[in-house]
Amino acid sequence: MEIKESEIKNIWILTLNGVMDAHTSPNIKAKLEAGIASGKTKIIVEMKDVTYLSSAGAGALLAGLTACRKKTGELRLCSFQPAVKDAFEVMGFSKAFKVFADLEVALEGF
């Protein structure tokens, strides 16, 4: 799993690429938690190149969301591939997050 970082107007953007499962999600979780601990509290995770998402992967995002909220920040998700979004919704994780169609929309009003 590849994680690219960028920053726009103080918003930390993580662009993920590949499979998010039990093997790869601990890295994402650690990355998110380290970023949040260093003061990044406005975060967008771009999911456009994520080809598979298991509950373990969704759980890593949820852990990031929880850590972010504790610092009164926000974590948004955007640009899901349709099949990955379906799985995310069926497993019931989407209720916890703000999910946007693309990065541009996610950046609006942040």
């Binding site: 039990a22 509950s55 969704a58 949820l62 852990a63 379906d86």
Partner: protein, 307 residues
């Protein structure tokens, strides 16, 4: 193979072995003989003389449990129970072993006793060996059964409990409240073992639903953690074992609904925490489940039913 020497049996290990014995019981006589009966006989636990039946010894153990002066007799009585059940039948040995492990989880003196430690040391490796040998077989069986499951069955299995109907919602809230009340009672009594079981049930059955006293339960967990450090970790392991057992007994019984709901419950309860037991094994099963849903092109239908 994990052949580490132990000086005390943790409640988690006792629970895990108890679940393996239940899975073993469904695996047939030969496996039961190989992974439970023989190790105990080879360790010299079989007795030549038959004196009481195992049920009588179980009653004596529970009697001794309520009398503080007899607590130190429980270890030898449990050993006698196993010795006796080895002479009776496979089912008696299974029940007695589960009984012994359950009491080990509940009575800390027994968890540190010579008999408790010896019993667990004898059965631990053979049972873990059984589990790892059967893991691949069970995963394959899960995959085969998934291939043949009907679309409707799969949809039903993935549906959460319908909370839209008022009476169902009220019933669940009442159950959760009753369970929460029991947790409070046993927490005040300092009965960690009962609390662990009750909280595990609460979190597994109501985690997916609305916040039925969830915050208060979290406070109880924190209080128990302060009183007994490591409680949260043991609680998580305990829940993971319960869910793992539920998933695999569902697979062995051909009850895919139970298996799929277990995977879903695991996902909700632990939310991707890699430190939880069976994290990789259950993720593997979820991968197979998602592959079948994709192959059958069911995501859209499932999404509609979940919203």
């Amino acid at each position: 193979m994990d052949s580490q020497k132990i000086s005390k049996v943790t409640p988690t290990l006792a629970e895990e072995l108890s679940r393996y014995i239940r899975l073993l019981a469904k695996a047939g006589k030969n496996q039961f003989h190989r992974h439970l009966y023989k190790p105990l006989v080879y360790a010299g636990w079989e007795r030549q003389m038959k004196y009481n039946d195992s049920k009588f010894i179980m009653a004596r153990i529970d009697e001794a449990r309520s009398d503080i002066s007899k607590l130190n007799t429980i270890g030898p009585l449990c050993k006698r129970l196993i010795s006796q059940s080895l002479l009776e039948s496979a089912s008696s040995l299974g029940n007695s072993s589960i009984f012994f492990l359950d009491r080990i989880g509940a009575i800390s003196m027994l968890a540190r006793s010579e008999e408790g430690v010896e019993f667990v040391s004898i059965i631990k490796d053979p049972l873990k060996e059984f589990n790892s040998e059967n893991q691949v077989k069970r995963e394959k069986s899960f995959e085969d059964k998934l291939e043949n499951i009907s679309n409707q069955e799969l949809t039903d299995a993935l549906n959460p409990i319908e909370l839209g109907k008022k009476e169902v919602k009220v019933k669940l809230q009442k159950e959760a409240l009753a369970l929460f009340h029991q947790i409070s009672v046993f927490s005040n009594k300092g009965d960690i073992h009962r609390c662990r079981k009750l909280i595990a049930n609460y979190l597994i059955y109501y985690a997916e639903e609305e916040n039925n006293n969830r915050e208060e339960v979290e406070q109880v967990i924190q209080a128990l953690e302060n009183r007994s450090p490591g409680f949260t970790l043991e609680l998580n392991d305990f829940m993971a074992i319960q869910l793992y057992y539920s998933i695999f007994s569902g697979i062995s019984e051909g009850d895919l609904k139970k298996a799929i709901q277990g995977i879903r419950k695991y996902a909700f309860t632990f939310q991707g925490n890699p430190d939880i037991k069976y994290f990789l094994e259950i993720d593997e099963l979820e991968g197979k489940l998602q592959a079948v849903i994709t192959k059958k092109d069911l995501w859209k239908q499932l999404r509609k039913e979940n919203i």
